[in-house]
Amino acid sequence: MLFPLTQSSAALPRVVITGVGIITALGYGWKPNAAGFRVGRRAFRPVSLFDVSRQRVKTAAEVDLPDSFPPTRLTRRDLGRLDRAAKMLVLAAQEARSQAGWRAPETNSGNVPLVLGTTAGGMLLGEAYYRQAVQQPPRCGGQATRAIYYQPQVQARMVFDALGCRGPITIISNACASGANAVGHAGNLIRTGQAERVIAGGYDALGELVFSGFDSLQALSPTVCRPFDARRDGLSLGEGAAVITLESHASAQRRGAEILGELIGYGTSIDHHHLTQPQPQGSTTRAVMKQACANAGVTPDEVDYINAHGTGTLLNDSSEAIAISEWAGPRAATLPVSSTKASIGHLLGAAGAVEAVVCLMALREQWLPPQTLFETPDPACQFSIVKQPKAARVNVVLSNSFGFGGVNAALVFRRWL
């Protein structure tokens, strides 16, 4: 039952990650992404997915979808109905499940919840629907299919059908915090005993509406995306998906599963300041970081790296820089921070999930992802930005995500030894 929840007197289960799937402009899968993030490779190029000739900015971090789809339980007909966003989602889910080694008896129980974050879902199909609907004379061909597959919950069902899993579907759309909220919510489902295994992630594809939206706001950088740099002039958009399989430690242990990391903290709150601007002094950001670390039982001194929201916009980065500096206190001077949006752009609803995977990579492989074109820090930065590829001892990491509308989220992960 969703309510009332069964009360357990047992200690709260530890939440571990046993599988990860990722697709970004750096590639499909752990290896190419880890290799790219490790050296701070930038994956921006001219937009080819739609016409940008009348846009102010003409670059983004586009994903190259693999030529062939790995085998799933989806039929050819199903596959033909997936838009770009859903394809990336299914690819990431397939990789995560494969890495986790979940087998049919474990996933057919009917209680493997799927929690996804997205801002646009199947917006590409929505755009196609609109274009065809306003054509003269109007034509109906394919429109019913677009109307169905446009909906994020239908795309989520495709994940279940592809993997052969079943369970409740929750779609969180808290703008750019969606992916982090999805991972955090998934962790809570395990902690509160509502599920032993959860699939969580985020996905969003580049689309004309969203690109044009950020361009119209003049939020896109006409030069290069440089989060926290004093000369920053905006964000760059990207696309992608990341999916994580979370399970209770007991479940992973029982299966003898390889554990990639532990989710130890989650915080979320809302900033009322403005629909699109953060509170300038970063008070909500600071509060959500404190909340996540209190939940994790760690202090700033114990955090080895922060994957910042760091969009590259003037307002976000100054607010976040103040928040991190004040939250970290004396620790700020030696605290490594970077924003991997400098490499793959802002993935909106996917950002929090993708950045959670980057944190797991850093924990697993013991390096810090650099921002290679970073030059002059914003005066509000009391911390050091990781500028060069760097091996490091990384035990605890914190990942920030903030969304349009003011929902903020922070996740804390710990290395599994």
Binding site: F3, L5, G121, Q143, L209, T276, G405, G406, V407
Partner: protein
Amino acid sequence: MSRIFVAGIGAVSPAGWSVAGLRCALSHGEPLPIQSLARPGMNQPLCARLVPNPPVRPEFLAHPRLRRSSPVTHYAASAALEAVAGWRAHASANETRLGVVACLQSGCVQYSCRFYDETLKDPATASPLVFPETVYAAPTSHVAALLQNVVLAGSLVGDPSAFLQGVALGAEWLSENRVDACVVIGAEEIHWIIADALRLLDRTAVVSGGAGALCLCRDPMFSTGVELTAITDAHTFTASVPKALAARAMRQQLGEFPPAGLLVDGLGNSARTDAAERAAWSDWEGARLSPKHVFGEGMTAAAAWQCVAACDALADGRFAAANVSLVGANQQAIGARLVRA
């Protein structure tokens, strides 16, 4: 797990901007008149049940955050304010921690279409004022700003069943003492593109818009006399679990129910769309309310109207218990039970 009570309800529907309007239309039981909705490029208009203009301009529209907001935000705000009014009259507003969960299926479709239309014509002149209002999270954000004291908020997207997931999330926040009250909203706005798509999927469906809201709390002192006692699991439709099976599982999980109780179902007027839910409750002989039959396909707003109607019927003593049945369009089946406290 705490007991969860309903502290207030709110509604905006084709019957007007209040629960009273909803109650009145439901008591007549007749489908509201259908209006025509112009569709660009077609001589034949589409069908809809539109939300009438409010009798007087709502005061909340003067709030700076709502200056450029879309109808879905106005509906959500009005329903939320009506739902929290009773709570606010009891509790000291300054000491209250509120949560807001908004559930949407179509979201901010009016501004999305408008902005995309501008983009297709010339992206260089597409309005930066419109774009931020296209995101699913915009209504939640505006309502949170309007209500103040909101410490937790979130937007869920899905078919109508997502509304009960929202109620469960709100109940969880309350049980964990993260908030003192939580407003759960289902809201939708009408646009010709939604009516156009719905027509392709179900020729008999009539699209409608509006919002419904429940204000949940832990303290029975603030209750309107209604307690939430159960929300079933979310029975997802998959390739191996068709909708009919999921609906039946939801019904079974709700368990035995006194025949003197009320069933508030999600049946409209479509034999095909309603088949699974109709079959799941085929043996039900007790009282039944079907808000969609009266108001049309309001998606998550319609789901919220179901819950509001159930709470209203319990609060005024007409019934001692009510089941709410939500068999969504393409996601899952979820049911809930509410009782007179």
